[in-house]
Amino acid sequence: MGKQLLLVDDEPGILKIMGISLADRGYGVLTAENGEEALRIFHDARPDLVLTDIKMPGMDGIELLKRIKQESPDTEVIMITGHGDMELAIQSLKHEASDFITKPIRDDVLDIALRRALVRLSYKKQLKEYRENLERLVEEKTRKLVEAERLAAVGRTVAGLAHAIKNITSGLTGGMYVLEKGLELDNKSYLKEGWQMIRGNAEKVKRLAVDLLNYAKEREPEYQMLDPNVPAREVFELMVSRAGELGVSLKSDLAQDLPKAWFDPEGIHRVLLNLVTNAIDACTDLSCTPRIWEVAIRTSKPQGWAVEYEVSDNGCGMEEETKRKVFQTFFSTKGSKGTGLGLMIAKKIVDEHGGVISLFSDKEKGTTFTVRLPGKGP
């Protein structure tokens, strides 16, 4: 069947004659005698083409054109105008009519107008198909990229884990050799060194396993309404003497009258403990020029957040490269001392709270980590 066409004219005679002539040309013809009826039919039948008189009582042709274009911009609308209505014809073009023909209607002119409208319809349809194809293609490629990225992340994680284990194995193998030599040659100092290597590496395996478990554990955060200073104070008290032993002075500067916030105290405790431990490590790093070491825990209430925790050190700061990688799995600058999981776990916990963790580091002045929590949970 040919295209459906809606013909609108207030003169029943014209409607009838044109209707027959269009049906002869193979169109499925619908007719309406006024704008309102035309709109009703348009809603129901969704014809591809509309042919409408401009001057009609009630809703005129231009109003009908506007309504149809608003609803269905792809529909082709051809206007029929009287001889003296050039002004109206031009106005209708402004409202995106496809074309106009003048009364009395000549068959050849009508033919040309209809053919042009049909060509435009088929272009639009093709364009739409292309666009949809493109969208599908983009969607598919995006999905593949996401998949590849996820596989790459798993690969990196496994590679990092393998590296950590290799390091520990090296230490254990070495320790065993030194210990055996000590037994064989009855050499006390070999015995002692070998034994220490084995002990140290056993400790590393334990730490790696604990970190891995902590990371993998799907612990449901237990959110509570609490003073945000609580975990900061706990971590300070836990670490102050250990820091002192290592020659680092640990200070705390907690804001008074912080409003209570909604957070998981155990999770935030872990985040702060990790940051403070890192800060102390940064100070006692051998390659760092000695000075009076200081690590500080601060809390405050910034605009728009429930609480801000700040952990700063005056240790030797980070390289640009390091700054970019600190939150990645298994990235560690501590050689065999670190597992490369601590900061990644910290970030995971802060993310779960809907908060942000960020860092500022300067080779001269040291590093400051900032954690902001919204206090409303995730």
Binding site: V178, M197, T333
Partner: protein, 130 residues
């Protein structure tokens, strides 16, 4: 007299292991913990062999190796690379650097991946030193 072997590694465990291995097999080990210290000791004590880690902070083993091989006084000392880095990755990095700088640095006497087996390392040491 026992031959001097310089061990350059940033990890204490590795230094203890390799120096013990050397000491108990009739060599005289020297140890350095980074490339800068390593080069200094190599110049001062002219060892018969250098065992070098690749990934170290400060000056890496890769640049120390290239400096050794470009120094007329040191370039004939054999070097064993000992690293957690895979052999393939290391040799690839050398090719890239060669091309980039238009040099041709000879390959190390041996390349051993960590963790090293004591026998394997010892054999490589004996072969390289001859």
């Amino acid at each position: 007299m026992a031959k001097k072997v310089l061990v350059v590694d940033d990890e204490l465990d590795m230094r203890i292991f390799v120096t013990t291995l050397l000491e108990t097999n009739g060599f005289k080990p020297l140890a350095a913990q980074d490339g800068i210290q390593g080069l200094e000791m190599a110049r001062k004590s002219k060892p018969s062999l250098i065992i070098l880690d690749v990934m170290m902070p400060q000056e890496s083993g890769i640049s120390m190796y290239r400096e050794l091989k470009s120094d007329p006084l040191l370039k004939d000392i054999p070097v064993i690379m000992l690293s957690a880095l895979s052999k393939k990755t290391f040799f690839h990095s050398q090719r890239v650097l060669d091309e980039h700088r238009g040099e041709k640095i000879p390959e190390p006497a041996a390349y051993i991946e960590k963790p090293p087996e004591p026998d394997e390392l010892l054999e490589a040491i004996r072969k390289s030193i001859k």
